[in-house]
C-alpha cells in the first residue's frame, strides 16, 4: 500500500452558473478527501453535475464557494500535478498532430532534454499498447485507440493524479472492458491516483477502491462506499462474485433514491 497521506481535499464545494435564463445551482455542497494512490469512482444520475465537479477539481472552473486543496495547497488553476482525460476524445486530440505530436504537446513547456521527452512519449505509448501507431493521425484510429492516445498523453505528463471524465462512454463494450483493465493496470504499476467519473454503475464498482455516489442537482455526496473486492480484478471472475452483485445493487438503489429525491441531505449541506 502506498502512503496514506491526503492528496485531494474538497470542502463545501458549491458552484452556481450565472446564465441569461437565471442562475443554476449545479453543485450544492460537496465534501470529500482522497488519499494518495487511491482510485476513486464518482457516479451519479445524469445531469447531476459530475462534469462540473471534475472541472472544479482540475482547476478549469472556479467554484462559487468552498475549497479544493491539492497536497495542502488550494487549487486556483490547472496544476502540473493533474492530467485530465476528457470524454470527447475526438475533440480533445488535435487532428493536425500525429499521435506522437499529441502526446508530446503538453511536455513542450516542461524543461526536459529532447531525449528525456522522447523517452516519456515512447514509454507512455508503449504503456497503452500504441507504440506502432506513433506516426498515425488520431482520426486514422478507432475510437478506443483514440482514447488510449488521450490516456498516453495524460500518463506522459507524469501527474500525481489522473482525472477522467466518463472516458469510455463513447466506445463499444469490448473495447470498454479492455480500457478499464488498462486504467487499473496503470494505476497499479505507476502509482498514479485516479478520479474516475462515470454514469455506469458496474464500471464504478469494478474499477474503484471507493465509490462516491452523488445526488441529483444541486449535488452533494450521498454515499461514500468502500469497495471491498480483492485488489486483483478480472472482467469475468470479479463480475461474477456475489459481493460484486451486492455492491452494484446497493449503488443502484442509492442512485434510484437520488433520482426520486428521497435521499436526505447531510446536515452540513443545508
Amino acid at each position: 500500500m502506498p502512503d496514506r497521506s491526503t492528496l485531494l481535499r474538497v470542502e463545501h464545494l458549491r458552484k452556481v452558473y450565472e446564465s441569461p435564463t437565471g442562475d443554476v445551482e449545479a453543485i450544492g455542497d460537496i465534501s470529500f478527501t482522497m488519499d494518495a494512490g487511491e482510485l476513486v469512482c464518482i457516479v451519479g444520475p445524469s445531469g447531476c453535475g459530475k462534469t462540473t465537479l471534475l472541472k472544479c477539481l482540475a482547476g478549469l472552473l472556479r467554484p462559487t464557494s468552498g475549497v479544493v486543496e491539492m497536497d495542502g495547497a488550494p487549487v486556483t488553476g490547472p496544476s502540473p500535478a493533474m492530467a485530465v482525460v476528457f470524454q470527447e476524445y475526438g475533440r480533445s486530440l488535435y487532428p493536425w498532430l500525429t499521435v506522437r505530436g499529441n502526446v508530446e504537446l503538453p511536455l513542450r513547456h516542461k524543461q526536459l532534454t529532447r531525449a528525456a521527452r522522447n523517452k516519456l512519449v515512447v514509454d507512455a505509448l508503449e504503456a497503452v499498447g500504441l507504440a506502432h501507431a506513433a506516426r498515425s493521425h488520431p482520426w486514422q484510429l478507432s475510437g478506443g485507440m483514440q482514447q488510449r492516445v488521450a490516456i498516453a498523453r495524460a500518463v506522459a505528463y507524469q501527474p500525481d493524479i489522473l482525472i477522467m471524465d466518463e472516458p469510455f462512454a463513447a466506445v463499444d463494450a469490448q473495447t470498454r472492458a479492455d480500457l478499464e483493465d488498462l486504467v487499473r493496470e496503470l494505476h497499479a504499476s505507476r502509482t498514479i491516483s485516479v478520479v474516475f467519473v462515470t454514469h455506469d454503475i458496474d464500471e464504478s464498482v469494478y474499477l474503484g477502491q471507493r465509490v462516491l455516489v452523488l445526488s441529483t442537482s444541486p449535488t452533494w455526496v450521498q454515499e461514500d462506499l468502500a469497495i471491498d473486492l480483492p485488489p486483483e480484478r478480472d472482467q469475468i471472475t470479479t463480475r461474477a462474485l456475489p459481493r460484486f452483485t451486492e455492491l452494484r445493487t446497493h449503488v443502484y438503489d442509492q442512485i434510484q433514491r437520488a433520482k426520486r429525491g428521497q435521499a436526505v441531505a447531510p446536515r452540513s449541506a443545508r
Binding site: 485530465v84 475533440r91 480533445s92 487532428p95 493536425w96 493521425h137 482520426w139 505528463y157
Partner: protein, 274 residues
C-alpha cells in the same frame, strides 16, 4: 523461346498501358483540342479580324513573351503580385488572429470591417494613385488592400470558432500561450484561412492587371492594353493567354500547397465519408 514469349508479353502489356494512357488523355484533352481546331477553321474561313487563328496567336506568343519582354514586363508583374499576396497573408492572419481572440475588439471593428470589405477593390486604385503616386509601392499597396479582406475575415471566423474542448485540453495541460497559438488556434483555423487565401489570390491577380492597365508603363496589364490600343490583335490575344496561364499556374500551385497544409482536414473528410 522464352525471349519470344517475353517480348509478346511485353508488347501486350505496353498495349494495355498505352490504351489506358490514351483513354486517360482523351477526356481531359479531347474537348480543348476540338475547340481549338474549330476555332482555327472558323478563324481562317471567317472575316472577323478580332479572332486570329490559334497558330498565329501561338506565333505571336513566342515572339512577344519569350525574350526580354519576359524580364521587362512579366517578372515585374509577378513580383508585385507575389509581394502583394505575401503582404495580404501576413497582415490578414496576424490581424485576424488578434481580432479573433479579442472579444471587445471584434465587436468594435465588425461593422467597420463589413463596410471596408464591401468596397469593390479596384476603386482603391484611384485612391492609392492620389496618395502614393504612380509607383510600384502603390500597386503592391492596392493588391494588399484588396486581397487582405477575405484572409482577414476568414481568419477571424476561424480563430473564433476554436473548439471548446480543444481549448480546455490545452488549458488543463498548461500549454503556454505561444504553443496554444501555434499548435491549436492557427491549425484549427487553417481550413478557413486557406479558403480566404484562395479568394485572395484571384482578387490579387485582378488588381495586378487593372492597376497596370490604369497606371503603368510596364507589366502584363499595361502590355495587353497597349496591344489593344494599337490594334496588335494576335499579340493582345497572346497576352490574354499568358494571363490565363498565370491564373491556372496560381490555382495549381495553391492546390498543391493546400493539399499539404490541410492533409489532416481532407483525411478526416475522407474517413467520415467512408
Amino acid at each position: 523461346m522464352t525471349a519470344y514469349t517475353e517480348r509478346i508479353a511485353a508488347t501486350a502489356r505496353s498495349r494495355t498501358v498505352g490504351s489506358r494512357i490514351a483513354a486517360s488523355l482523351v477526356y481531359p484533352l479531347g474537348l480543348p483540342t476540338l475547340l481549338l481546331v474549330l476555332w482555327g477553321l472558323v478563324a481562317t474561313r471567317g472575316t472577323s479580324k478580332f479572332f486570329p487563328d490559334p497558330l498565329t496567336i501561338a506565333e505571336a506568343f513566342r515572339e512577344t513573351w519569350v525574350g526580354p519582354a519576359f524580364v521587362e514586363d512579366v517578372l515585374p508583374s509577378l513580383a508585385r503580385l507575389g509581394l502583394g499576396v505575401a503582404g495580404s497573408i501576413v497582415l490578414g492572419i496576424a490581424a485576424g488572429t488578434v481580432i479573433g481572440l479579442t472579444h471587445w475588439l471584434r465587436e468594435l471593428l465588425e461593422p467597420l470591417l463589413e463596410f471596408l470589405r464591401a468596397i469593390p477593390p479596384p476603386v482603391l486604385i484611384p485612391v492609392a494613385m492620389l496618395l502614393l503616386g504612380i509607383t510600384d509601392t502603390m500597386k503592391v499597396v492596392v493588391i494588399v488592400s484588396g486581397a487582405v479582406w477575405p484572409i482577414l475575415l476568414n481568419t477571424i471566423e476561424g480563430v473564433r470558432g476554436t473548439d471548446s474542448v480543444m481549448k480546455e485540453t490545452a488549458e488543463s495541460f498548461r500549454v503556454s500561450w505561444w504553443e496554444r497559438l501555434w499548435f491549436l488556434v492557427l491549425p484549427a483555423a487553417s481550413p478557413r484561412i486557406m479558403a480566404g487565401v484562395r479568394q485572395a489570390l484571384s482578387v490579387a491577380l485582378i488588381l495586378m492587371v487593372i492597376s497596370e492597365m490604369f497606371a503603368s508603363s510596364s507589366g502584363l496589364g499595361y502590355r495587353i492594353a497597349y496591344f489593344q490600343r494599337n490594334y496588335l490583335i494576335a499579340e493582345m490575344w497572346s497576352g490574354i493567354l499568358l494571363l490565363g496561364l498565370v491564373g491556372v499556374f496560381l490555382a495549381v500551385a495553391f492546390g498543391l500547397v493546400e493539399r499539404r497544409v490541410l492533409r489532416w482536414y481532407h483525411g478526416i473528410r475522407e474517413v467520415n465519408r467512408a
